[in-house]
Amino acid sequence: MNAFFNLLKLAWVQLIRHRVRSSLTILGVASGMFLFTAVETLQRSLAKATAATAADTTLVVYRENRFCPSASRLPEHFADEIRRIDGVREVIPVKILVNNCGASLDVITFRGVPEGLLKKFAPEIEIVAGSEGAWSKRDDAALLGETFAKRRGLKPGDQFDAAGVTVSVAGILRSPFPQDNNVAYVKLPFLQHASKSGLGVVTQFMVRVHAVGSLESVANAIDEQFRSTQFPTDTRPEKAFFAETAAELIELIGFTRWLGVGAVIAVTALVANALLLAVRGRVKENAVLRTLGYPGRAIACLVVGEGGMLGLAGGLFGVGLGAVFLRWQSFTMGNEGQTLAIQPDAFVVTAGISAALLLGVLASLWPAFQAMTQPIVKNLRS
């Protein structure tokens, strides 16, 4: 054990005293891991937004065969009928207005909801700045999701306009439902008026059911109810709705996985190349160590130690930078009015750093094998 740590220390000394070579390699690894972190963050943010969990109790009622919020038009009074359906705990009619219906990195989504109903519909929502009182005072008041406010640098008292609507910020909210944190809540009549869709018309209904197991049966009951009306509906669990509506976005994000794979391969090749060069440049040094009584596995341990440290250093640097960057930028991807906040979590950071360490070790196996099988006598003569 003692010997092992001494070897690692020796590997460390080799690294820090070949400063230029090590820095360049670490920089390369860091770039790769930065990309890896971005891709993994995307993937995980998406997984969190689409993977159904046992705690999901929300349904979205949308106009059948419509995908863009401006195309889904439903009469507001459907809410009363939905509320009477068995298993429904609460319903809220929502008018949605987005600045951009296509895929975008900076999408702004307004959700118009009847005053007073939001609290009842989602008691989990917490006001972290400003107040609800301020919200009820003004017609054009908005409650911003935390992520959205951060991305735009908005705080209570500020005004902003988007999609032809000007609102004033009354407060900031935090919700356990990811979508809430990316939107601006305004009053329903205000938004109906501002978007010129007319009073009484909403985009969707959000429905909370009493029991998790009843999501499907309630959804069927709702669609059945309106099947023969002028406005047939399509009701889905919130996350499934997201997955279907933002399908293009999801496909795009799925593709980025290949970028992550590319980053991983590049990092491995880079470390392997750096170590192969180092091993070649040190044939004599290694032959001397062997002469001093270092067994082949000690030489291999030195190489793998260097690989692991390069990987770990590059990982800490690249993943750390990536996480800080994404957190600071708080990108939100939007598509058809659905938003996806790209936020790194502890899992991405731990996984990224461990992956970098592992890649460094893997990349050093072949160079290590080369180093330990070099002929001593021939290399001393060279």
Binding site: N2, A3, N6, L7, L10, V13, Q14, R17, H18, K284, E285, V288, L289, R290, T291, L292, G293, Y294, P295, G296, A298, I376, V377, L380, R381
Partner: protein, 227 residues
Amino acid sequence: MNETMIHCQAVSKSYKKGNTLVTPLESLDLEVPAGEFLALMGPSGSGKTTLLNLLSGIDSPSSGKLVIHGTELSGLSRRDLTAWRARNVGYIFQLYHLIPVLTAFENVELPLLLSPLSKRDRHARVVAALDLVSLTDRMHHTPSELSGGQEQRVAIARALVADPPLLVADEPTGDLDRESANRILELLQQLARRHGKTIVMVTHDARAAAAADRTLHLEKGVLLENP
């Protein structure tokens, strides 16, 4: 004190070079008592380095018997031979072969890193070895900051630090000026006489050979007392 350190009996070594077989050493006999300082001379290509490599266990004979410090080397596995080497032989090279990025102290410490010694014990032994070659004041210098003679003394300290009974030196003064060379030779003499090390030194220089207790000439694979 008259035990045998090196016992070579009918030792041969050949290398394949393309299609031809080069045999630098053929049926060589050699007996070196412990504590002797032996000089080995001979023309270039006569197999001197090859012999040192066999004696130090970094190469193995093609045939013959090689017993060093009571151990029959051909009976050892690669792994055991490596461990044996760490305990029994110190190798001194003509071009010192210090690791350039390590300080004198760190270079000398290398042979001890795999031993179970504590950090403090290692430190004490490295300092003692550097003291023996009078370089304690240079221990934090890297090889590029030392003269050739100093580098060779560091290399000698490195060969000594694990306290092996046998030192082999391949033209240790070949690259040094007269004065530095003399200093190295005195040092080797002192190691044999005062510390009981057995030393086999290859040299091209008759004056260097004169520092040894005995000189042997290697010619065409055969050892001669007087050429």
